[in-house]
Every structure is written in C-alpha cells, then in structure tokens.
Symmetry: C2
Subunit: 412 residues, 2 copies
C-alpha cells in the first residue's frame, strides 16, 4: 500500500510538472527555446538518460536538439556538442524515427539489442550511435509530433529509462509533451508562411510595374534604402524602418495606370498631360487601399502621399506640414534626391553641389526641414548606395566623383 | 491515510484525463468542435456545474459556448439554448471576464455574494444572470486563454464547483486546458490570415490590371466562373474548381507589359504588333512565377498556357494535347467563348448560333474535344452568368435573347 502510494505521488508530481511545462510553452514564441525546453523536460519527466528531437524538413527528419547525461559527463560538453551536431535521417520506414513519423504511432522498445529479426533495421541507427560513442542504448520511447490526422511535423525520442524501460504510463506523458511542442511548432511555421504570403503582393506588383517602366528598378532600390536610412535617423522604430524599406518600392505603382504616350514621352509634358501624370499617386493609393496587412497599409499611404509638399503645394490632396503622413514626407525627399542624382532619358545627372543647392532651396517649401537636415547629416552612407546600385553607364551619376574626392580628402 | 490516497487517486485520474484531452485537441482542426470540447471537458475535469467560453473579438469578449447542467435540467434544452445565445461583454475591468482578459491572470472566487465592496462590480454580471434565470451562482474560476505574454485570445469561466468552491489545485488544471485551447485557436486564426494574405496578391494585381484594360472586368468574372463550371463538369476536385475561380482572373495580367499603342489599337494588329501582343502570355507567367502559394502557382500556369491550342498551333510554347496543362485547356475555351459572346470596341456581339458554330469548328483543333462537349452539355447555367455580370449596354450580348427564347420554349 505504501509503495503504491509512493508510485501514485510520483505520478501526480510528474503530471503536475507536465501541466506547468505545457502552460509555459504555450506562451513561448521563440522556436529554439521551445525545442530545448521540450527535450530537457522530456528527459526529466520521463526519467530518461537522453532525449532527441527531430523536425520534418524537405530533405528528411533533421536532428535538432539532443541531451545525453552519461555522454556529456564521459566526453565533456565540447566533445558531446561535436557528436550531437545536426544531421538528417531519411523519411522512410528504414529507421525508427522515420517509421514513427510515417505511421504517426508511438513506439516503445524495451531493449534495442533484443529486437525481433524483422524489426532489426529500426534499431540499426541506435546501434551505430553506440559503436561511434561507446554508449549503450537500451530502451527507447519514440513519439510523433502530430498537428492533425496524418500530419507529423517531428519526432521526440527518449533514450534509456532510469527504471530499466519505459512503462505504458510513460507513453501519454511523452505524447502530451509532443502535443504541446507540435502546436507551438505549427504556430511558428504558420507565422513564417504569413510573412511570405504578405511579401508576395509586393513582389508581384513590383514585377508587373517593371514591365511598364523599365529604367526605374535601381532607382526604386536606392530611394527605398535612402528612405529607411532617413527614418532610422529620425529615431523611428526599427520595425517602421524595415516596413518602410519594403513599402517604399510601391510608391509609383500607380504609373501602371498612366498611358504610355505620357509615361514614355521624351520631352516635357504639357499642362493636360501633366494633370494625367499626377493621377498616378491616387491610382497607386487605390490599387493598394483597404488591406489588413500593415505593410500594404503603409505602402498605400506612401503611394498616396509621396508628392505632397511641406508648404501644401503638392498633390493629390494639397496636404501641408504634419498633415502629410511621415512616411510620405520621408519618401518624398528620398525620391527627389535620387531623381536629381540620376541620369534620365530627358536629363543629365547633376553634381553633388547642384543636388544639394536644389534640395536646400526646397527645405521648408517642398520638404520638411528636419528630414532635409537628417539627409545631409551623413552623406557618405547615402552616396555608398550609388556604388551598390548602379548600372554600367559611366555618366549615370556625377555624385560618385564627389564621393571619390571626399574619400581622398579624408584619407589625407 | 486512506482519504489522502483517494484524493491522490482522483487527482491522477483528472490529470490523466486532461492529458488525453490535450493530445486529442492538438489534432482537432475544426474550431467549433474544439470550443465545445474545451467547455465540456472543463466542466467535467473541474467538477463544475457550468462552464462558459468567451473569445476576444474586435467589439469585445464574445460569449461562444456554454454548458449549465442545473439550468439545462430545470429549463429544458430549448429554453437554455435561447438563454445562452451569444452576446458581447465589453473588454473593460468592469466585468470579471474583461478583468481576466486584460490582466492575463487567473481569478478564483469562493462566493459571488460575499465579495468585498470594491470588487462588487466584478460579480454584477453573475448576479444579473441569476436574477434572469433563477440560478444561484456561488463559486467562479476564471482563466485567460493566453497565446503570448500580454496576448489573450479568450477567457474560460467555470461555474459552481460541486465541492463548494474551486481549490488552488484546480487552477493549473483549468489553465492547462486553456493553454491547449489557446494554441488551437491561434492556429485557426493564423490559417485564416494566410488565406487573406494570399488573396491580397490576386486582388492588387487585378486592380492594377484594370487601370490598363478597363473594359475587361466583367469579362474576367464571367470567364472565371465559366472555367470553374467546366472544371466541375470535368469531374475535377472541388478544391481545384475553387482555386481555378480565383486563379483564372490572372490569365491576362501580362497585358500590363504590352504598349498602349497595341493594347488599345482600334483596328487590326499588323504582324509585328501581333508578335508583341502574343508576349503577354509569357509576361504574365513571369510576373506570377516562382511562388510557394498553390493559387499563384495555378495562376502562373493559366497565364502561360491559356493561348496554347489542342493541335499545337498556339503560343507561347506550341504545346499540344495533354502537354497543355488542364487549367490552360479549360480557361482557353472559357476565354474565347466569352469573347465571342461579348461586344468589343472592334466587333459586335454574336448570336448563340454563331458562337456555337465557331466553337464547334475549333473542337479538336483549338480546343480539347471533351472540354467543348462539357460546355454544351448545359448552356443555360452558363448563359445565366450573362444576366449576372452584364453592363447597361442593351447590345452587349445577343445570346441573352437566345436565353429568353429558350426559357419561353421550356415554359410552353
């Protein structure tokens, strides 16, 4: 009776601990921490000498995290880390973890050296590991990390029960831990997929716009990077700066809706053509409007506001001062600065002096004074973008000559 | 000793059951089943008379699922269903569930009728419920459904412990169940967000294309619906038919890259212009290529293949027969059928007889014979789309006259 009572008390303690771990893991947002906790708690909860976690990846089951108390003591932490470096097991029934991943069923083996002949292949991996390390694997409890009927994202393997072998009662504990891990891994994977899906819209629209307006691809890259640099210098959050880098390339997407005769006219636009050209801001806003995605919301804001001017003389709405969204004020300067620096089919590139005097003349009129000051605070960081994103045309930028001269002066 | 042993045995049983429920819930993909299970198992596990689950929604905490054994017996299932219809509690500290959602902390109340004065507002809701139903609420255990530090997606409330009040040991059990529920709810929400994010790309590209080619919006809707109908009649999976409905609108997105002078030319294109026009299939393929999203992959396939012909005389690759992707063979017919039926700036609409004879002439040459046969198998379902997606122009479709005549004939 007393023994039974002790066993019961131990069981309660294990289940209580599993409960605490599950609650804690639900709010863990970093995948690597989560995997480490699952392996460590699995080993402790199931009184195992070792534990290993594999995740399903395109090329097979990748070994991610492992603990082995005996080997860590025998070999030292450094040598154990070397031996437990990630490797990939093929997703086939030739190995135990592959078999568990494919069938979605738990496998409890009492002794890997007394397996029936026809299942010998399932323990070949453990035996090879023993040969390599001098370890003696005996019992193994292997459970799938399952997220839905037939959908396995990984496998948790517990090695050498300190009680000789794993009991039937150990199985649900390991499965419970695996269930918590599966849910958290799925969350991390879905979050990654959302990020990818959101970038798709920007990627496809940019590709579509390039077919209309081929010369602007490098311009878009430079002005987006300048926008992000300016935002950073204005003390805005890193998240905003990163979002602006992705959103700014959409500022001229509305040009998709402008006729070729205007968009590609080599000479100056007449008054009527100019009015049509100006509609690109509103068209861009309409193409991008109404999304739930924060980056698309920001890009809609930028597309609509990047031709507004600080003194209210811009378009499409004639907003002034801080009524213009901050993103629009920043992108406006980055866009004009790069256009002035670049050679276009209708104009030559300017020298840095010429660009500077035009931008300074627009300080407080076209541009917010603070944004202009942030631009000139450190020109070298900006000019280096022109080395990074340039074409083959030696006349493309005159400012690169200025950068070279500035460097020569600094070097002296 | 015996009593303690019994209590211990009961605790083990509860924890074992919680473990089983957690494992089971991890693979439950339907949110409504999941919520029901959480409420029911919560009530059973914690030996409560009632349980209620609230989810955080934009307008507050929405009451989703509720069980109450006493009231269900007293009032009957029907009246209880009426009383437990969904309602919304504001997300403020004025109510207990609001308070728990805002603080993210568990709340265990022994008796709602002996609360200290300054917390009286927290139990006003329970007291109002009692007045309405004749029920007597006593103990309440309220736990948050938390997905990350500070991120609460719902609240689980357990009502009237059968043991007088809820113990401290009950709290982690309720929290454990709430943790499993949170993970599953998050999974469902993220899956929804991925779907939204993936649709964004199609929505934005379609809007951009409309600015280039304004007359085709209704054409796109009709030909996409015709494509989905044909796919269904060909016995393809419902998933494929639904994906094709979303992907088909992208078939002409490559026209964004065709110059206005060709795209909007009122007369016939000359040979050189025609070669340029034909590049729209490859351009569309390139705009959409290389995505991980199955719908974008399908739309890239459709954009590239919708001008291939069954006999190999199409473009851009001159594929023939079953080398043309099935999606392309279906969309090819839907696209031509709708174009023939419609009035365009360069041509009148045709009668149904004229359209039929042109399509039948292309059977086995331009079009796969089986797809043509599926189209003519039931024309009425197709013609009804022309009533649904039409403009104000009375000359837009001659085939609507045919539909009216067919109906008059059937009516007789």
């Amino acid at each position: 009776m007393n023994l039974e009572y002790d066993a019961m008390a131990k069981r309660v303690a294990a289940l209580e601990r599993l409960l605490q771990v599950s609650i804690q893991l639900t709010t863990e947002t970093k995948l690597s921490n989560l995997l480490k906790t699952v392996v460590h708690e699995g080993r402790v909860l199931l009184e195992a000498d070792g534990a290993t976690l594999y995740l399903v990846e395109p090329d097979g089951l990748r070994f991610h995290v492992s603990e082995n108390e005996t080997l860590k003591k025998q070999l030292g932490a450094k040598e154990w880390r070397r031996l437990s470096a990630p490797y990939v097991v093929p997703m086939t029934s030739e190995s135990m973890v592959g078999h568990v991943a494919l069938t979605g069923e738990c496998m409890n083996v009492e002794n890997v050296y007394s397996m029936p002949e026809d299942n010998a292949h399932l323990v070949a991996g453990a035996q090879a590991f023993d040969k390599l390390t001098g370890y003696t694997t005996q019992s193994l409890l292997t459970v799938p990390l399952q997220v839905a009927e037939g959908a396995v994202v990984g496998v948790l393997q517990l090695i050498n029960s300190q009680n000789g072998s794993f009991s039937a009662a150990d199985e649900p504990v390991a499965q419970g831990l695996a269930a918590t891990a599966s849910a958290a891994i799925t969350k991390a994977m879905l979050t990654e997929q959302i990020k990818d899906a959101r970038q798709e819209t920007i990627i496809r629209l940019a590709r579509a716009a390039e077919f209309r307006d081929k010369e602007t691809s490098a311009h878009i890259q430079r002005m987006s990077h300048i926008s992000a640099i300016l935002a950073r210098r204005m003390g805005l959050s890193e998240k905003f700066c990163e979002d602006l880098l992705v959103a700014a390339p959409m500022h001229d997407v509305g040009k998709i809706g402008i006729p070729d005769s205007i968009l590609q006219k080599p000479g100056k636009l007449n008054a009527e053509e100019w009015e049509i050209m100006k509609t690109h801001a509103a068209i861009g806003g309409r193409i991008l409007a109404g999304s739930n995605d924060p980056i698309l919301q920001l890009s809609a804001e930028v597309a609509l506001a990047h031709h507004e001017k600080w003194d209210g003389s811009g378009y499409p709405e004639g907003l002034s001062g801080e009524n213009i969204p901050l993103s629009g004020r920043i992108v406006a300067l980055a866009d004009v600065f790069d256009a002035l620096c670049s050679k276009r089919c209708y104009k030559e590139a300017m020298t840095l002096d010429e660009v500077t005097s035009i931008i300074q003349a627009g300080r407080g009129a076209h541009f917010q004074p603070e944004v202009v000051d942030r631009l000139f605070e450190d020109l070298d960081e900006i000019l280096e973008l022109y080395e990074l994103f340039k074409n083959d045309d030696p006349d493309e930028f005159k400012i690169l000559t200025d950068l070279a001269m500035r460097r020569a002066t600094h070097a002296r």
